[in-house]
Amino acid sequence: MDRDSARLSRRATAPLLWAAAVAVPLGFLAIFFAWPVAALVVRGFVPDGAVDLTGFTEVLLRPRTWRLVGFTLTQAVLGTAFSVLLGLPLAYLLYRRSFPGRGLVRGLVTVPFVLPAVVVGVAFRTVFAPGGTLGFLGLEESLAGIVVALVFFNVSVVVRTVGGLWERLDPRTEEAAASLGASPARVFRTVTLPSLAPAVASAASVVFLFCATAFGVVLVLGGVRYGTIETEIWIRTTQFLDLRSASVLSIMQLVVISGALAVSARARSRREAALRLVSSRRSARRLSWRSPQDVTTALAGAAIVVGLMVLPLAGLVARSFREPDGSWGLGNYVALGTTGERNALVVTVWEATATSLRIALTATVISLVVGGLVALVVSRRPRSAGVRRAVGTLDGLFMLPLGVSAVTVGFGFLITMDQPVLGVDLRTSGLLVPVAQAVVAVPLVVRTVLPVLRAIDPRLREVAAVLGSGPGRVLRTVDLPIALRSVGLATGFAFAVSLGEFGATSFLARPDGATLPVVIYRLIGRPGAENYGMALAASVVLAVLTATVMMVAEQLRDERAGGEF
């Protein structure tokens, strides 16, 4: 008994610290995610103090609602299917074959994923416009145009997720099948594809999630004819002040997304089950110009990269140097110091850029603290089964914001944060937008840091403890230095996500505190060739900023560090 009580008092501080490490992120999630979303749901069901479902029936009986649901699912399914279809040959080329310049192409393929949705929308709008590079295709304001932009965005998710596994598949299994008389096509169908299935399923469900909640791209490219549940929530709220319909639509969105997320979780748990994995260096073979299979894939890959990625981005940059009168020049960039034609904006674009950077910095700090603590807690393997289950639940809880659209978060903030939180009025303190962006960025931080912390051999910590390090010093000298490189990448992700965040920010940013994506959207919505030119130049600035941040972060990436995206 004495022994037990001595042990208890000696170890009393450690559980307290762990409790704090759990409480801080949980509090953050409760106040800035659960409360706004719950308030939104309540507003849909209980509009005036009494349960009233007429809002539901009204929205559900509207033909427009079902058209929007249908379009949301159609564009998401098509976007997912084509992302997988085009992503597979690219994954093969970039992870299974080696050739000069492969690193560069891998980097290029990653760029779209971190580009702000508004920039992507503007880029495709520019090439699809009559007179644009791809104007002859007639894709302006069309389903096909939106799907192409979604594929542009998400093909990198497929390439990275599937490629990461493909690279480490033991080629000897395929060689064994070939020696048994299977043709290359049969080897692919009967051996390779089944092995890749978990990664493909996992990537597809994540892509579906991103497509179903796509907001900026659809808003910019869909015009007045096409919209998703997401854009409709935004339009209902900001244009018609119809908060009740918006609440109902948000709930519908939650239902659709939870389903997709459940499928994703199942796919992830089966991933890499019972596969023979080898070091990546062994499985990549040199690209051979004598193999018809290699030549076909290489040509297809080149066409995808050039047609889907290089062309729209090059088109955007080129057009940004066109003056309104059609001549070449820096006029659009000079105009970034103004508030636009007929004062389209309240602030200049450079002022908005400064605001964006300031907000992104704050949002990054918040998401690193919250996400870092979550990753740290979740990476532990406690002895007690009950505590282990609780830790698993915490992991799942923090994936929820990934599934709830940014528009929903922004809308929820709008209806809950109009009062001081813990004594701080977020609207006047300037923290409202950074906090909302952090809610969106935290899951990415967790997903980037967690695999690295989990991969640390527990014996390293045991050795450190035996050599005289208390729990605090073990954290400082073992976990922290190893996790630091992934923290660099997580910082880049958080910063890039925050810079380009549009869904939540568009609800919350005041006109005088507009961020770069908000300003770009406002500019393309205003008449005037000069405003459009400014939007293009501002998009290039935003794209360059984001790409630079990501490039610096990628430099800090450890080769062994995984990450799920």
Binding site: R3, D4, A6, R7, R10, R11, R381, R383, S384, A385, D457, R459, L460, E462, V463, A464, A465, V466, L467, G468, S469, G470, P471, R473, V474, T477, V478, P481, I482
Partner: protein, 251 residues
């Protein structure tokens, strides 16, 4: 009594204290079953047995990494219950993969010295002396990834010896190496332990290795300690058929 005393120690893995090592998910598995053992100061004792016999669990329990279900671990007369791992002043060495990848050789060896009150010069001198003892003089600034398997284990041994642990626990430290290297290193480990006067418990499944390193060898099977004796004594008078089997005296 001075040295290590293990008194009636049992280690169980079960549903409530489930672990990744050895524990069945259904019911309770007894990994170590009422084992008693003493190790005198300066003595090297080997624990010999097949994989899964509980020798590693016993070692981890002594280190404080595994909670005891019953019994006592006592050192120099002090019961270590409630003394956390990092306060026991023991050393521990694993089979492989335990060098800190983000530190070079010198900073790996210095790790345990950094919590002690030593001047920079004293610390550097101690690191250099240990690397010298293990035939790695001048390796301080090398990255651990550039070392061969044998060199990595020497660095791990130097690191474990650096803080002058009152007891060194070695968990199959040579098993990941090829046979020739293993035989040579077994001799070197013995020499390093004797040279530094270190008390040690050495876990292995190889009886020649056990005889080469230890003053006394304990034979374990199914969580029980069958016999503890000097190597030659074990060979001449094995206590049971099982003991003789592990020593390769039969078949």
């Amino acid at each position: 009594m001075a040295g290590l005393e293990v008194r009636d120690v049992s280690v169980r893995y079960g549903v409530s204290t489930g672990s990744t090592r050895g524990g069945g998910s259904a019911g309770v598995t007894t990994a170590v079953d009422k084992v008693s053992l003493t190790v005198a100061p300066g003595e090297v004792v080997a624990l010999l047995g097949p994989s899964g016999c509980g020798k590693s669990s016993l070692l981890r329990a002594v280190a404080g990494l595994e909670p005891l279900s019953e019994g006592h671990v006592v050192y120099d007369g002090e019961d270590l219950a409630g003394v956390p791992v990092h306060k026991r002043r023991f050393g521990l060495m694993f089979q492989e993969g335990q060098l800190f990848p983000h530190r070079d050789v010198g900073r790996n060896v210095a790790y345990g010295l950094e919590v002690q009150e030593l001047s920079r010069a004293e610390r550097d001198a101690r690191v250099a002396a240990l690397l010298d003892l293990l035939g790695l003089a001048g390796y301080e600034r090398r990255a651990v990834a550039t070392l061969s398997g044998g060199e990595q284990q020497r660095v791990a041994l130097a690191r474990a010896l650096a803080p002058r642990p009152r007891l060194l626990l070695l968990d199959e430290p040579l098993s990941a190496l090829d046979r020739q290297l293993r035989e040579r290193l077994a001799g070197e480990v013995r020499a390093a332990l004797v040279e530094t006067g270190t008390t040690a418990v050495f876990v292995t499944h190889d009886h020649t290795e056990a005889s080469a390193v230890a003053d006394r060898v304990g034979v374990m099977d199914s969580g029980r300690l069958l016999q503890v004796a000097a190597p030659h004594e074990l060979r001449t008078t094995p206590a049971s058929e099982r003991v003789a089997e592990f020593l390769g005296l039969r078949g």
